[in-house]
């Protein structure tokens, strides 16, 4: 029963990993580039909301989350401008290194804002619990799950029901043809960065909220988790990122009941298993591009 309980916790928290994975995969799907600064921007967004929460006392938690999402969206746009817009895209390493630089830069800013200490962050119903027979589930984890699922559904609606979504998918599949149809690559790419930033900011806020603490150590941790989820799910696959996020969360928490120190080893082992047995990830396809 301890294992079942832990796996349920892992799946609920794993939705935040899924959001981070979606952010990575969305950008990769559209531009075929990795944005390593994405998770750092997500946590930086959460820190921006923390500053607002500390400055304007008694801000309601939903507003704090919205501020985090908005700030991370703005940061996403700035990352696009500084690391992609004016850098030659033909050189794959140039943008990658630019985003590594941005990751370190954002991490430093977060460290200075927080003075290197973990900061209190508002929790969602921190003392509420839901008991279901022998299972004891944190209500804020359920809220994290619900908000994450709602955000994913909203993203899918945006991608499949709006002109912006059609443009994004067109650019992802055939950038030249999309341009010939009058779609602005620059505007679509920028919108993708903003969309993924908003998702990341929401995930960052929920991670801070479920721990009631926001740490300056999170950017690197979350970058690694996001990349793991993206690789397991399949680069560029949104459903893959969702399933992989839940899987990573469940494996982490499940292994934790046996050994905390073996937890990260097992997650890394999972990557190797996928790279060997299914290199394209759960839903990814190899060489999907023309």
């Amino acid at each position: 029963m301890v294992l079942v309980q832990a796996i349920i916790d892992g799946i609920l928290v794993g939705t935040t990993y899924a959001l981070i994975g979606i952010g990575f995969t969305l950008i990769f799907g559209v531009m075929h580039k990795l944005n390593l600064a994405f998770a750092a921007a997500s946590i930086a967004g959460a820190f921006a909301s923390l500053v607002a929460w500390q400055h304007f006392k008694d801000l309601p938690v939903p507003l704090v989350f919205l501020i985090s999402a908005a700030a991370a969206g703005v940061l996403g746009y700035l990352i696009y401008l500084t690391c992609f817009r004016f850098i030659p895209l033909k050189s794959p390493l140039a943008t990658l290194m630019a985003t590594v630089g941005m990751l370190i830069f954002l991490e430093e800013i977060v460290t200075h804002v927080s003075d290197g200490k973990a900061q209190n962050y508002p929790g969602m119903l921190p003392d509420a619990r839901w008991t279901l027979g022998p299972l004891d589930i944190r209500v804020d984890y359920i809220l994290v799950f619900a908000i994450s699922v709602a955000a994913m559904l909203l993203l899918l609606a945006l991608l499949y029901r709006t002109r912006l979504g059609i443009a994004t998918r067109a650019v992802a599949q055939q950038p030249v043809a999309a341009q010939l149809c009058g779609i602005s690559l620059d505007r679509t790419n920028a919108a993708t960065f903003v969309m993924s930033g908003v998702l990341g900011g929401l995930a960052g806020a929920m991670i801070g909220s479920s721990a009631e603490l926001l740490s300056n150590l999170l950017p690197l941790q979350l970058t690694v988790k996001g990349l793991i989820v993206t690789v397991i799910g399949g680069l560029g696959s949104i459903p893959g990122a969702i399933v992989a996020g839940l899987l990573v969360g469940a494996v982490e928490k499940g292994v934790e009941t046996w050994s905390v120190l073996a937890r990260d080893l097992c997650v890394m082992l999972l990557i190797f298993v996928f790279l060997v047995a299914k290199p394209a990830g759960i839903f990814g396809k190899l060489n999907v591009r023309d």
Binding site: Q5, A6, G116, K117, P126, S210, K253, V260, L261
Partner: protein, 401 residues
């Protein structure tokens, strides 16, 4: 004409400046290098140590400096470098100090830096064949038991945790006999935390009649603790000992509050008796008890806490050790009659080492600290309890009643 006069005047001032330069350059300087973690989860320790060292140096310099062998006064210059709690960084820094004009170093923060670092120092001063570094290090924070034994150039002014927790469990047996069971929690990937439970509390608790019912661990950078706290809830111990630093301590006690885990007593690790814990989780640690070698319990301790605060640091058991180290080094340097000249640097370092080794006791902020044969400290201590957002002294062995 007027311009020429101005030009001549400027030249005269410049010449006067040059003439004065040799006099000011004759002012000798004693360099003390501080090093510790200023990044990562234990960054606050480095920040506070730096503030304490700078406060101590400012006080020494305001009183004229340090008296050298020839009777001249030298100013103290304190620097502080970040070793990121990484052994290789700490070793590189000390190698750099040893090849520069630094007389002595104070640090590091982390035991996992101190242990390999002390290993590169000359082990025995009498062993001429040992090519290890001959450079004195006076540690303020790294607390894992027994580290100074590694080299005769290593000295520590850190709490002796086995003695502290032995005294705490003895006190609890006498004052709280209803406490019968204990469960431990530790940061499994951090030397001090791991040793704090495995080698200290886990050893002391059964000695005074407490039955260990389980233990859990997590990592220093973890943010979720649901699994570990569920295990605590299942075991329902009277006492939960959390051998962790403020960041994860706060995460754990918040999760305990969420899951309704209410032990009769929480015992913390020495390093958590800081304001960082109070800023993070004052409500959840209310009532927790920690043995510590610093609390602002007397006028001098309060004054020093104020001076450290002016340097933007916080006075706790580690940072006040850094203060004490600089003050002790001043008296040691004066007693050892060092010359403070570039050509006598190696000899001066040896004199400082020998004088530190000869110390039998030093004056600390809570009273007299005894020095042991293996270059460790036995510091006076108190027990502090979290009360209303502050650490309040709940027991002072010098005032038993």
């Amino acid at each position: 004409m007027k311009k020429s006069a101005l030009f001549l005047g400027a030249c005269a001032l410049a010449l006067a400046g040059f003439a004065a330069a040799p006099a000011s350059s004759q002012q000798r300087v004693i360099k003390i290098a501080g090093f510790g973690a200023k990044t990562g989860p234990v960054r606050s320790f480095g920040v506070n140590s730096e503030a304490a060292m700078r406060a101590a140096a400012a006080e020494i310099n305001a009183k004229g400096g340090i008296k050298l062998a020839d009777g001249k006064m030298a100013k103290v210059e304190v620097t502080f470098d970040d070793d990121r709690c990484q052994a290789e960084d700490g070793i590189n820094l000390v190698r750099r100090y040893a090849s520069s004009d630094v007389l002595v170093a104070v640090g590091p923060t982390c035991s996992n830096v101190a242990e390999p670092l002390f290993g590169i120092l000359q082990k025995k001063v009498s062993d001429e064949k040992d090519s290890g570094l001959r450079f004195p290090i006076f540690t303020d924070v790294a607390v894992k038991a027994g580290l100074a034994q590694i080299s005769e150039w290593a000295f520590r002014n850190t709490p002796n945790e086995p003695l502290l927790y032995d005294a705490l469990f003895k006190y609890l047996q006498a004052k709280r006999p209803e406490l019968k069971t204990i469960m431990g929690g530790k940061e499994g990937d951090f030397a001090h935390s791991k040793a704090g439970w495995d080698a200290v509390m886990k050893v002391a608790a059964p000695k005074y009649g407490m039955n260990i019912v389980g233990e859990v661990e997590w990592k220093l950078t973890d943010t979720t603790f649901t699994t570990q706290v569920r295990e605590m809830k299942a075991k329902n111990p009277d006492v939960i000992a959390i051998a962790a630093h403020p960041f994860t301590l706060c995460g754990v006690v918040k999760e305990m509050a969420r899951q309704g885990v209410k032990p009769k007593l929480i015992i913390g690790l020495t390093s958590s008796s800081s304001m960082e814990t109070m800023e993070g989780c004052a409500r959840q640690v209310e009532g927790a008890i920690i043995p510590t070698t610093f609390a602002p319990v007397n006028p001098e301790a309060k004054r020093v806490a104020g001076l450290i605060a002016k340097q933007k640091g916080s006075a706790d058991l580690h940072s006040t050790a850094a203060w004490e180290n600089v003050i002790i080094l001043k008296s040691v340097i004066e007693a050892a009659k060092i010359d403070g000249k570039p050509e006598t640097l190696a000899a001066d370092r040896r004199k400082v080492r020998d004088a530190l080794a000869a110390l039998k006791e030093t004056q600390g902020l809570l009273g007299v600290t005894k020095r042991t044969e293996d270059r460790e400290a036995i510091k006076p201590f108190v027990f502090v309890t979290a009360k209303g957002g502050n650490w309040v002294v709940s027991y002072d062995p010098t005032k038993p009643n």
